[in-house]
């Protein structure tokens, strides 16, 4: 994954132009974040609540701190996500006993890994002269993402010397690492700000060191690299032009690809792909066509091959279109171009695959059978153009479709709710109770669609379900394995529906039409911007953030929905670089 090509440099130029269009020098605070941005008095500083490294960020950080020493993957306890699904949300990030135990164990695991080749990790003979001591000072600065104060350095070195005397240098290094990695300076990412604000000013600029960490945890989900640290040391990151240049540099790195994929994974629920049980009998013919007759074979194929291949198709899709395509949201929602495995091409898309074309290799860590251990997943994905009358964008592709499906029939309500929640940012208020539904007909429903007709007959249901089912039922052409179907239970599929409460309202005849409407919808673009704001700030927006969010939304819409530009504009925004004074 480290050898991916950087993304199209033309887009970088375009994005830079927009990001900095507020002033020639690019640091004119009064007109940022753009010509349509807020008045100066509306610039909003971030309350900057304390963020804690996510499991992903912790693993990336120790990987980068000790590169090339292999640390191994650290497994964290399960944690609640904030509503909207972002793992970095500060709302419920109070530490738990299991988490603090894990930090302790992880610090030991890291230290043990470093001991495997201590001279290699330190770059010198640990017992020679001041080798280990010097390394420790440099390491502490990288681990805490800032130089230590004199007092902090004294504590560190005094303890190191004591441990070296009482035990040996190796032990002193180990113990020092476990101290540094369990400290809040490592586990949390504090944003305390530079100096007290001038009288009458509520905003405090972040320090250069804080900006380095802010940028790197946003754009890379990892710790700042040497270049960021050097710029921070030189006091140059507070120059907005320098910061924007760094954002572009960082976006050309594979770690940014991982971050953008991670954002979409969380935002659009990729983790649900493959978590559903499938009815192996109902779909028996699909497996039997491929020569599988035993139930175990079918089960293994579906859960251990097909599902992971479908799951990571979504990752490849995002990476390719954002970094090697046109980077536009509308493309993610409407394109028929994707990258697939042979199984998925043949089963879900019923199209042959050109295996002569150049594949994208994708690797990831995935849970083993039984969900317990992790194993390396590596797969080649081949480009394919799907039938544009059947597929338009990620939400008509196999991942979303199998994630939001019952064992035999698709789940129109879950499909509809996901789109309303994640693409339209409309918070649905779940029913307080489920009223009993009268069975009006004596006959059983003939199709999946008919099953949901019952929602229309109850006043209590119809309110919400008009919009949910209006979207969800347009996906009736896709079954629980993501395959196109023209009939359901022998009857023709009716995939008509209606989009409500957006700027693109109106009837549609199927999901392809629906996705084209959503792809060109301002509502969808504004929602997507809000989601990025939540991700970048580790919190949900409040009314105070309105000027910032509105400016970002305006910028995103005017850029034709360019995702890279949006990310850069977020990183360059006033809120991103300033914290609010303590009340």
């Amino acid at each position: 994954m480290k050898n991916r090509q950087p993304w199209n440099p033309d887009i970088a130029v375009l994005a830079l132009g927009l990001a900095l269009s507020g002033g020639a020098a690019g640091c004119n605070e009064t007109s940022e974040p753009g010509p349509t941005g807020p008045e100066p008095e509306m610039l909003v500083a971030d309350p900057a609540p304390l963020t804690r490294l996510t499991a992903e960020q912790y693993n990336n950080t120790v990987r980068d701190l000790f590169d090339p020493v292999p640390i191994g993957h650290i497994i964290f306890p399960v944690e609640l996500e904030g509503r909207g699904g972002f793992e970095n949300n500060v709302t419920l990030n109070t530490a738990t006993p299991a988490l603090v135990e894990t930090y302790q164990r992880a610090a030991r695991q890291v230290a043990d890994a470093v001991l495997e080749d201590l001279p290699g990790a330190l770059g010198c003979d640990p017992n020679a002269g001041t080798c280990a001591r010097d390394w420790l000072v440099g390491f502490a600065e990288r681990a805490w993402r800032r130089p230590l104060t004199t007092a902090e350095q004294e504590v560190l070195l005094q303890n190191f010397d004591t441990w070296a005397t009482d035990h040996d240098v190796t032990s002193a290094v180990t113990l020092s690492i476990t101290f540094l990695l369990q400290s809040p300076d490592f586990i949390y990412v504090p944003r305390l700000g530079a100096d007290a604000p001038a009288p009458g000013e509520a905003a405090i600029p972040l320090t250069d060191w804080e900006l380095a960490a802010r940028l790197s945890y946003f754009l890379w989900n990892s710790t700042p690299d040497a270049e960021l640290m050097d710029l921070a040391r030189e006091g140059r990151l507070r120059d907005r032009q320098v910061l924007a240049d760094q954002a572009f540099r960082m976006l050309a790195d594979w770690r940014a690809v991982d971050m953008v994929v991670s954002f979409h994974r969380q935002n659009w629920d990729f983790d649900d792909v493959g978590a559903n049980p499938i009815d192996l009998d109902f779909y028996g013919p699909v497996f039997e066509e491929r020569g599988m007759t035993e139930e175990d074979d079918k089960s293994d194929f579906y859960y251990l091959e097909y599902s992971p291949q479908a799951r990571f198709e979504s990752d490849v899709f995002i990476a390719q279109h954002v970094f090697y395509g046109d980077s536009r949201l509308e493309t993610l929602l409407t394109t028929n171009r994707t990258w697939v495995t042979q199984n998925v091409a043949e089963i879900a898309y019923q199209q042959p695959l050109d295996t002569e074309s150049e594949p994208v290799s994708w690797s990831a860590l995935i849970p083993q059978e039984g969900n317990d251990q992790l194993r390396a997943y590596q797969q080649e994905y081949f480009p394919i153009e799907l039938d544009p009358t059947q597929r338009a964008g990620l939400f008509t592709m196999v991942g979303f479709l199998i994630a939001k499906a019952g064992p035999s029939q698709p789940a129109p309500v879950r499909r509809g709710v996901t789109i309303i929640d994640r693409l339209l940012c409309t918070e649905l208020h779940p029913p307080g109770d489920v009223p009993p539904l009268e069975e009006a007909e004596t006959e059983a429903p003939r199709t999946n669609r008919e099953k949901y007709e019952i929602h229309k007959r109850s006043e209590a249901c119809a309110g919400c379900h008009a919009s949910i089912d209006g979207i969800g039922l347009t996906f009736e052409n896709y079954d629980s394995m993501g395959r196109w179907r023209d009939t359901d239970n022998g009857f023709p599929v009716d995939a008509s529906g209606e989009l409500l409460s957006t700027d693109q309202d109106g009837p549609v005849s199927n999901a392809v039409e629906l996705m084209r409407k959503l792809g060109s919808s301002r509502t969808v673009h504004d929602c997507y911007t809000r989601q990025w704001f939540r991700y970048a700030f580790g919190r949900n927006e409040t009314i105070d953030d309105a000027p910032t969010v509105l400016a970002l939304q305006e910028g995103f819409w005017n850029s034709d929905g360019n995702i890279i530009e949006l990310v850069v504009n977020l990183a360059g925004s006033y809120s991103f670089r300033h914290r609010r004074g303590q009340p």
């Binding site: 990030n93 035990h167 369990q182 049980p277 039984g370 317990d372 019952g406 009223p435």
Partner: protein, 467 residues
């Protein structure tokens, strides 16, 4: 990604119902009368139960009275279909019919009834909304009890999820959810990773305390620079670090037979792993309080293929006999699982009896039934020595509250507040009232308003338990 295999599920069901040995039905000679149980295991299942196939009233007692039925005299056919697998354990059981989460019904949070029930069931308190997310606003009883009975140098409590991550029911404190760990290997490492490790005296071990106190100082220094809210977060982390030191030492010095982690690639395997880990960990006193939160059973476990248990069955209880049968099997499946746990606890001798005598098991649910009622929920207690077991307690619907129920009508009365059960369990563990230092008196919700402004008293305990 979960892997489901129907064949294995069915095997699991068969094993759980068929391989029980029959424990003694005679009331057990107890230690000191009323001696508090030493451990607590809370089991929370989803979708409640279906009272018509859960409840037992072979004597035809009136529905409008408090009454008690001796369970030990009931034959297997007298037992309800939902609870049949627990018949062999009837002498060690108290089944409680007629408690309600009235507080949940009234809760103004406006979120799913599942979410409301998950918060009320063990906190007995209202939902707090934080950034659109419903969260608990006070500790759940397992945590209050852990604060009281946990050894300072062992794990305070352990929370597990079976069948994927189950919705959170445990709260360490306000806004501090404890999600059940769903990966059994992670739980295994947490419970047993350090035990039997006292022998070595290397530098890392010797200096552990020094490292942790240095770390603790860092948290203190950072806290001083933060907002009140963040100070509290960092304060919690600091306190946990301070607990960690003695905990690590204690766990290392514990000698414990570490159970091997069996196959955990389906629901039954995960449950069996949870049972063996908890039994082993509690028998060597690594932890005294545990919650196992059981996710919705996959259809395969109860012979349903191709349909979603939650949507296609739990929600249809009011109108479909097929759904009633399925959800009855659903509860019976869990009852068989509970029997498996009781068997494991009872197989380990302890003092004059077994571990089960020193372990109270509470089995409750987030809802009363699959169609989202909170009225007349299923509750069961097993083991321990506080109460005389072998009883079925029936409470009438005499709470003046219009409860929403499955038939779409509001009923003019509801079962008694479940806070009384929570307080009873608190009292069983001798947890003192934080205000008075006397015996536990009430959960945070002390009083509710019912019909016509009538007062609903949520304080006190279920006195009948002590008779």
């Amino acid at each position: 990604m979960s892997r489901f295999n129907r064949r294995q599920f069915l095997t699991g069901l068969g094993l759980a119902t068929g391989s029980l040995f029959l424990p003694s039905l005679l009331p057990r000679a107890r230690g000191a009368t009323g001696a508090p149980p030493k451990r607590l295991i809370v089991l929370v299942t989803q979708h409640g139960a279906w009272m018509p196939t859960w409840a037992m009233n072979p004597a035809g007692n009136p529905t409008d009275a408090v009454w008690e039925q001796d369970l030990t005299t009931l034959s297997e056919s007298d037992f309800s279909r939902s609870l049949a697998p627990l018949h062999p354990w009837r002498a060690r059981t108290i089944a409680i019919e007629g408690l309600s989460m009235v507080s949940g019904d009234i809760d103004p949070a406006g979120v799913l009834r599942h979410e409301i029930g998950q918060i009320h069931v063990l906190t007995g308190n209202e939902v707090e909304m934080v950034s659109g997310l419903p969260v608990g606003r006070s500790p759940s009883i397992d945590q209050l009890i852990a604060n009281h009975i946990a050894l300072p140098d062992r794990l305070r409590s352990v929370e597990l999820s079976v069948g994927g991550v189950a919705p959170v029911v445990n709260y360490r404190d306000r806004l501090q959810p404890l999600l059940g760990e769903s990966r059994m290997s992670v739980a295994h490492e947490r419970l047993f990773g350090l035990v039997n490790g006292a022998s070595g005296a290397n530098a890392a071990t010797l200096e552990q305390g020094r490292v942790l106190s240095l770390v603790e100082e860092r948290y203190q220094l950072l806290a001083n620079q933060l907002s009140a809210e963040d100070q509290q977060k960092v304060g919690v982390h600091r306190d946990l670090i301070s607990d960690l030191q003695s905990q690590i030492e204690g766990l290392k010095s514990a000698s414990c037979e570490v159970p091997e982690l069996g196959s955990v690639d389906n629901y039954a395997g995960e449950w069996t792993a949870a049972v063996s880990m908890l039994t082993a960990a509690m028998s060597c006193d690594l932890v005294r309080v545990a919650t196992v939160n059981l996710s919705t059973l996959p259809g395969e476990a109860i012979g349903i293929n191709g349909e979603d248990v939650h949507d296609a069955y739990a929600h249809q209880l009011a109108s479909s006999q097929e759904a009633v049968d399925a959800m009855t099997n659903y509860t019976a499946y869990h009852a068989a699982e509970v029997a498996e746990l009781l068997t494991a606890l009872d197989a380990i001798p302890e003092g004059n009896g077994t571990m089960l005598d020193n372990t109270l098991v509470l089995w409750t649910s987030e809802l009363a039934d699959g169609i989202h009622s909170l009225d007349r929920m299923p509750n069961m207690l097993f083991g321990g020595q506080t109460w005389n077991m072998g009883r079925y307690l029936h409470y009438p619907s005499d709470t003046p509250y219009e409860a929403w129920v499955w038939d779409g009508n509001r009923r003019s009365s509801a079962g008694r507040p479940h806070q009384k059960l929570l307080s009873s369990v608190m009292r069983a563990f001798d947890v003192p009232d934080p205000d008075t230092g006397e015996q536990w008196s009430a959960m945070p919700i002390r009083e509710l308003r019912g019909m016509g402004g009538a007062t609903i008293d949520c304080t006190g305990v279920l006195d009948e338990l002590w008779t």
